[in-house]
Structure formats: C-alpha cells, structure tokens
Symmetry: C2
Subunit: 383 residues, 2 copies
C-alpha cells in the first residue's frame, strides 16, 4: 500500500497532540505545494479552488496568499471568502442551482460571475445579477471517474448554444462554457473527448459573431489514494496538448476548479479502533469498528467509492496482517466503510488502537453529520 501522505509535520503534530474523537489535520505546506505543482503543470490556467472540498479558513487564506481564485457553491461560501479578504472579483458562484435570494445577495456583495445550465436559472441571473458574466455548464461523457457526476449538472450542447445566445438578449455577458469530467478522473482521454464536444460550440458561436473568452475545465484532478494515478505533469501535458489540438492559436482563457487535488493528500485523520470482532468463530474476516464512519466524515466510502490508505499507529510495516471489514460506530447498518475491498490490518489489532486514514483532506469535514447517533462532527486542525 503506497501512502506517502503523512508529512513530517503531520507526524509530529499527531505525536504531540492526542484527541478523544477522530481528528483531521491538514498540512498547509502541502496545500501550497499542491497548488504550485498544479499551476506549473498547467500554466495557462487560472486556478479557482473549489471551496466545498474543504472550507477551513486557514486553507482559504493560504491559497489566497499564493494567488488562487475561488469557486463557491453557496452564498455561505461566498461570505466566508469575503470575510477572509478575498476580493469579489476572485470568486465565482459556480453552482448551477441557486436560490433567488442568494443570487441577489451575491450580486450586492460584488460577485459578477455565475454558472447556469438551464433557462430558468439564466432568467434568475438576468433579473437579479444584471450584466454579470455567465458561463453555461454542458454535459460531457465522464466514464472513468471514481466519483462520477451523473446527469445532475449541465445541459445538452444544443441547449447551451441557444442559452448563450439568449443571454445576450437578457443583458448578460456570456463568457463561455464549463464542464466537469467527474471528480478523481483518471482517464486523461476523457478531457480530449470533452474538448471535442466543447470546441464545436465555440466555433458555432464565433460564426455568429460571439467570441467566448473563457473555458472552464472544472475539476477532477485526482489525489493518489491506493491505486496508481497519472502524475499531475502528465495531466497538464495531455490537457495542454488537447487544448492545442482543438483550439490551436485561438485558445480561450482557461479556468480550472480543483478541490480534491489541492487538499486531498494534505490531510490525515487519526481515529480509534472501537471494537474488533467476528460474527462467528469460523469467519476469517474480522469486523473492525472505528470511531469514524460514513456519517462522521467518511461519506465518500459509500459504495466503497474512495479507498483511503489506512495505517495503524505504532505497528511495524512487517506486522502480521489479516483481512478485515471496516465499519463506523453508529447503529446504522449503512455505516460500513469497506466490505468488498480487501483491507488488511494487523492480526493483533484491538480496541483502543489508533489508526491513520490518509489522503482525507477533501470532502470529509463538511460531509460530517451534525450528530447522527450522538457522535460529534469531524474536527480539524490546519498546521
């Protein structure tokens, strides 16, 4: 199991601090280096950090200081960014589903960039955020992502073309298209397929006299969990090549919205083994129950979508291992983390042992329930 996510700083932090409940620690140096690596790999892109991945104020401030812009999913995230001194022009309201009152508030707060993917949303933006920049999200094929995006977001390319034209009549500024190939997307070829669909619209609209200035490539840059994933340099190279192939010298301004890539492997959760048991004497697989589960931070273990590397504190790497089923502490039977995937943990594992769940910096804290079964939400330190 390849890990490499426990930085010296995180190791020292957990050595010096003990927690009664599961705790996530984020290495801000790693956040910054991830940002810089991505910026180097795709120098033509402006990076809009997807605040929803982890909205800890220290993460946002760290990224602000090194030049990030921000993609906000809600008015709460917009207000949080503004409260940290992030200028409104660096914030995009990227959710295609926005309440009317939230659009009004955002506009009053100075936000001038809005996503949409439907006629009703476009009408709302036109009347509540007049004159703003708008970009239309389109549906692209996203097979190959570990956490795929279904059809919840985006419209057909035909509809996108019509709505961008309409936005002009509504007094808005159509700046381009956005798409998302799915979070943790590991098939580089998907970018190429998507860009082919996208370029057709840019070409069509140009022929009608409308120059779209911007192309939003979304997120989907992967964090290395257990499986091998291509390096970010490989990603950047392939993306640049695909952009060159489809747009040539007329490439629009590129925006990317990474979340997981920036914070995923910058975080490690320390948790505790609550119980090790067998359902009957003959069973080889032990059940290992942790004090963290689906409802207290590990929602992305649903359907075993994300397979975090797990290590046991104080156990040598050559400890004798055996197969386990991993589950959370709640009385809910859905709260099973890994049953099919063959996790191996030490044979002498017992109640009270501390474990580390690696690469858990993204989509953990805010997914926590407020207190399902009375268990507290996941706490977090940024160091």
């Amino acid at each position: 199991m390849s890990i490499g996510t426990l930085t010296t700083k995180l190791d020292a932090f957990f050595a010096q601090n003990s927690f009664d409940e599961p705790h996530l620690a984020i290495d801000l140096d790693k956040v910054a280096s991830n940002f810089k690596n991505l910026a180097s790999a795709l120098p033509e892109a402006s990076i809009y950090y997807a605040v929803k991945a982890n909205p800890e104020p220290q993460i946002l401030s760290c990224l602000k200081d090194i030049g990030s812009c921000f993609d906000a999913a809600s008015i709460t995230e917009i207000k949080l960014c503004l409260s940290l001194g992030i200028p409104a022009k660096s914030i995009s309201f990227g959710n295609t589903i926005k309440k009317q009152g939230d659009i009004s508030q955002a506009f009053t707060l100075g936000i001038r960039s809005y996503a949409f993917d439907s006629e009703e949303e476009l009408q709302k933006i036109a009347s509540l955020a007049p004159g703003s920049d708008v970009y239309c999200r389109v549906l692209v094929d996203c097979a190959g992502a570990d956490w795929p995006l279904s059809h919840k977001f985006g419209c057909s390319t035909t509809m996108a073309r019509g709505l961008l034209l309409k936005s002009i009549n509504l007094g808005l500024q159509p700046i381009g298209l956005s798409f998302h190939v799915g979070s943790q997307q590991t098939q580089i070829s998907q970018w190429d397929n998507a860009l082919e669909q996208i370029h057709d619209i840019y070409k069509d609209l140009k022929e009608q006299g409308i120059e779209l200035s911007t192309l939003n490539l979304g997120g989907g840059f992967p964090t290395a969990y257990n499986a091998h994933v291509p390096s970010i340099a490989q990603y950047g190279g392939s993306l640049s090549a695909a952009l060159e192939k489809h747009f040539g010298d007329n490439c629009p301004k590129i925006i990317i919205e990474p979340g997981r890539y920036i914070v995923g492997d910058a975080g490690v959760i320390e948790a505790e083994v609550v119980l090790v048991s067998r359902k009957n004497a003959e069973e080889e697989k032990r059940w290992v129950y942790l004090d963290i589960g689906i409802f207290s931070g590990l929602a992305e273990c649903l359907d075993e979508a994300i397979k975090y590397p797990i290590t046991v504190v104080g156990k040598e790497a050559d400890t004798n291992l055996g197969p386990v089923i991993l589950a959370g502490p709640s009385c809910d039977s859905v709260d099973v983390l890994y049953e099919k995937f063959n996790y191996q943990l030490p044979l002498d594992l017992k109640s009270g042992d501390k474990i580390r769940i690696h690469a858990t910096g993204a989509y953990t804290t805010t997914y926590s329930s407020v207190g399902f079964n009375g268990f507290p939400p996941l706490s977090c330190s940024c160091i």
Copy 2:
C-alpha cells in the same frame, strides 16, 4: 398518493411560520398517539424509544411523560436523556460498538444495561461496567426491510450462546437476546422466522440452568410512506401470536425499540424549489432541484430507499402533473433524491414554490451534514 401525515397542527404551524431554509416540524401529539397505539397493539412490551431516530429534547420529554424508556446509541444520547430527568434505569446502552471511555462514563452515570455481540465487547463491559445486565444481539434473517441492516450487528446463535454463558463467569448478568429485523420491516413473517431462531437459545440455556429474563425485539415497526403497510394492530397481533407459538407460557419480558414508528409520520419538512429545468428541449422529465438534499436531511433517499410523499403548497390536488427527477442543492452529483421512482409534480412548478416532504420525523435532522457546500443543517420545531 396517500399521505395523511399533515396534521391540522402542522398545517397551522406552516401557515403561520415562514422559513428561509428547509424546516422540520414535529407534532408532539402525534408522537404521543403513535406511542400509545404501539403500546396498545403490543401491551406485553416495554417500549424503549430509539433516541437516534430523532433526539429533539421535546420529543424525549414528551415520551418520558407517557412512560417510555430509552435506547441510546452513544454516551452523548445517554447524557441528553439524563439531562431531561430521565432516570438511568430507564436507559439502555444499545449500541454494540462502544468506546471503553464511554462505557466507563455510562457506568458512572448509573447505566446498568448494555448490548454486546462479540467477545471483546463483553470483556470491555465486564471490566468497565461490572455486574451490569447484558444482552447479546444475534443475526437474524431480515429480507423484506426497505432499509435492511446487513451483517454489521449481531453474531451467530452459536456464538451468542457461548458468550452468554461466558458473561456469568465474568460477573455480568445475562438477561437475554436482542435482534433487529431491519428498519421499516413490512414482512410480518420475518418476526416469526427470527423468533424460531431465538427460542432455541432460550431453551438451550434453560437446560443449563440459566433463565434469560428478557427478549429485545428491536425496532423495524414501519411508518407509512407511499406504499401500503400493515397496521400496527396487525403487527402487534402477529407478534403476540408468534411469541405465544414459540414461548407459550414461558415468554420472557419483551422489550421493543421503535424509532421510526414513533416519530416518522409525526414530522413534515417544508422546503423550497430552487430550480426546474430540462437537460435538453426534448426531455419529458424535468429536473426539480430543492433546497434540501441527501446531505442536508434526506440521507435515507440514498438508493431511493425511503420514498417520502411530496406535495406542493398552494396547488390543488387536480393540478396537471408531469414526471420529475428530484435532486438536492449541492454541487455533488450523488445528491439526487429520486431518479428511478416516478414522482409526479405540477407542470407549472417553478423556482420559489414551497413543497412539503411528509413523514420525515425520523432520521433526518441528525443525518444532516454540518455544512456541506455551505448549506446549513436541517432545523426543527416541536409543536
């Protein structure tokens, strides 16, 4: 669509109170009448309300006043019950997965009844809650439940027999067995099957001189969502008959742990339509996005497990309807409520319309995330 869950009180409450965010209202009279109906249907049983279903203090106080005992999943729930004046002897620590520190605390607070399903847990209870009553959860077949319980809880009957015997040597008081046929269990015959497995152990242990005093039938009493479910009187009758069939005159003291049945149909959520859209002009199904989703209270819509009745405020029953896909407001594509099940909503539905999600009193508030995408957790009023 049969509903019948919007009581006059709830209707008046929502007519008089307006909320910017989704809001759950609980009719305490309905909570009390559900409790009384269950008590009448199964008069031989002591009712331990499953606090996890909805831990609102007013619900707990209401149930305390009419004679309920309480099943707690965590030390937090135990402390909450005690803070409301519920005596320790009326509280059972029903989670089979307990931290050592939590067992110690519970014992100090006077809790003397503990669930277990494994040797390690039994050892922990013996050393940290010496002399306490213990009951062993066994695995029973639970096909037919809408929200089934997998194999996370319970051990084999062979193991249960051995552990109950062992508990005596450890200085504990083995009081019996517990099992759970799955929440929202609608096949009455499952109770009969389970009791057959259970009775064998009572008989065996009696032959070894150990009289188990208690039998915990768990929960699983259903709330009527969309589908027809048997009445609680039918349930009670079948259960009583099954107990009589298997235990005859030697029936142990019966405990039940209802959660959903007590609070499910006592609650209604009022939420708002944020967006109505189509992905392309030809699509018949509209996408309807609400300001509540999987991560803000409707976790039981995962895999469309629970199908809540939904109505639109201010629309006549004979409004023209059309098929919809229902989704939550977050940027997460998993946050789709109903895509396969054919929900029908008015053809003139639009952003800003208020909707009611019925029978949502159980497993909603505490499942809410602390703030995924910046959306606030579900708030609740008890009236």
